[in-house]
Symmetry: C2
Subunit: 330 residues, 2 copies
């Protein structure tokens, strides 16, 4: 029996969120809608130009873990913070959500990672991430009992940016498969895919990864195609199960020869897309590890993502279990 | 000519906001709707019991300064942070809003103040404040040019909690009056009024304070009466100008024999009352220092307060100047 439904592994990042206009994005040479990696010096510069902000724990897989716990499922998390104030905030928030989080914090420098997230009037978020302590995540941080004791080990493609996290992932994947469990990943970002395309394809084709989450842009980047259909055909062959998200067009789930289209939920107002993909994965994996069929998994993903984009910040404030019950999905 | 419209003085506090149910408030012996002063030990305890939170710069007079700047007026602020990460966040946020803030940060302990704010389903906020570096604010922090160069010096009654801030206020008030300018205060909290009733009355009756902001509970506490009418009659005699806020019932402005009732704005959803009184004062003082008549000052206060309570956190994200223009108030 597994002790956890999902173990999530990712860069542990505190988000610093502010609104801005499109001119600001252009003037500051930020790739809109993407995750821009920045160093400490650029972090200082951008912060000096940023408007009044709010802070919230984020990090892609951390948001997914928080979402899974909000659905009432058992989630664990590996991620590296420093033992500074932001690290304490991060640790508090994820544990307070009910996620098992015991990765040893780094003593001293570099500080806990932060991402300055600029939200434009169209609701799109552009992230500027200083990885800080995340660069120290490595195989020593893989707790064997959690890696072997989760129905799914889920990680973010962003983990290929820090130097040694990929070793942690390969080790955790081995624990998972040896225990008869599954491994899932998100492609994270089209530019991240561009940096690590061959390695991501190898993870899928070697069977290191069983389940892949991607949005349309990431899928197209992975296969260097402008055709959604071509991307879908290709990923169907490269992994056992894939969920491709398409914003307001919903998502498409591919499993062998099966294709399951899923609608997005209706929203009142698009406020901030930060965390949308992470919450889709949370809903999907909650359903998947609870044994729901793929259509329900997709609808749970749509629900969580749709709630998250109607508010500022990466993690929805609602109790997702209550929301799923009210939506008649469980 | 004044260099600033309003100089605000207060406890510089980072808010840590989370939702909770009413049972939590009772079980943790928190005075609901009030500002509960706590020490470092209780701060640790409450944080360990708090749910996932978000952080935002707050502090009553700091929120007012941010609001005044958002209306496009010239605001300055005195408040003491430490030179730690929360202090840097506080400094960033208030400066990024356009407020002149140059109070020297404390080197080392105690850390920057934080308030754990629990928001119940009715939208009411219950604050638990660890004053930290605020206890070091004193007369040395009064910048003479700013105190003498603002049309109004505005401070929070909460400043009577730390030991030496009241000396700073008396000094700043002297600079203001010597320059022919005015002094305003908010009574802050009914329990704060209870702690410092005689001193607050002395400030008003001696003419140290010209303008008083109070909500209904604070007014009743000040005069130890259960009658709104009795409170209004009393405060009318004790200060030149008073604005008494009454939540959804709007506000009442008293100036000598004149009484100006003001309606609250209609809101779609009450989310979080944190900062409502602070933003009322911001709108009022923006109008007042721009020479608007009292009815318009009150409506500007209602507008800013009404916007702030429809979102989580203490400072509204909207550009208040645009909002005031759209509402036809300027």
């Amino acid at each position: 029996m597994s002790h956890y439904d999902v173990l999530c592994v990712g860069n542990a990042i505190v988000d610093i969120l502010a609104r801005c206009d499109d001119d600001f994005i252009v003037a500051n040479d930020i790739k809109k809608g993407a995750m821009n990696l920045i160093d400490a010096e650029r972090a200082e510069l951008l912060y000096s130009r940023m408007g009044p902000a709010t802070e919230a724990s984020g990090g892609s897989a951390g948001n997914t873990a928080a979402g899974i716990a909000s659905f009432g499922a058992r989630a664990a998390y590996f991620g590296k913070v420093s033992s500074d104030h932001l690290g304490k905030i991060y640790t508090h928030d994820i544990r307070a959500q009910g996620v098992a989080f015991d990765t040893k914090p780094l003593a001293g420098e570099p500080p806990t990672a932060r991402s300055m997230i600029f939200v434009t009037p169209d609701g799109e978020r552009s992230m500027n991430t200083y990885l800080g302590a995340c660069v120290e995540l490595g195989p020593d941080d893989v707790e064997a009992d959690k890696a072997a004791g989760a129905k799914v080990v889920y990680f973010e493609g962003y983990l290929w940016d820090p130097p040694r996290a990929k070793e942690a992932i390969r080790l955790a994947a081995r624990f998972a498969h040896d225990a008869g469990n599954e491994v899932a990943m998100t492609l994270s970002d089209p530019f991240c895919v561009d940096r690590y395309r061959d390695e991501f394809l190898e993870l899928m084709r070697s069977g290191t990864v069983d389940i892949v989450f991607a949005n349309e842009a990431e899928l197209k980047s992975l296969y260097q195609t402008s055709s959604l259909e071509a991307g879908l055909d290709a990923i169907r062959k490269d992994c056992r199960l894939a969920a491709v998200t398409r914003s307001e067009k919903g998502s498409i789930i591919l499993s062998g020869g099966e294709t399951v289209p899923v609608e997005a939920i209706e929203i009142a107002e698009l406020v901030d897309t930060t965390g949308a993909g992470d919450l889709y994965a949370a809903g999907f994996l909650f359903g998947y590890t609870a044994g729901k069929d793929l259509a329900v998994c997709g609808r749970l993903g749509s629900l969580a993502a749709g709630l998250s984009i109607q508010q500022m910040g990466p993690r929805p404030r609602q109790n997702l279990l209550n929301e799923a019950e009210q939506a008649g999905l469980i």
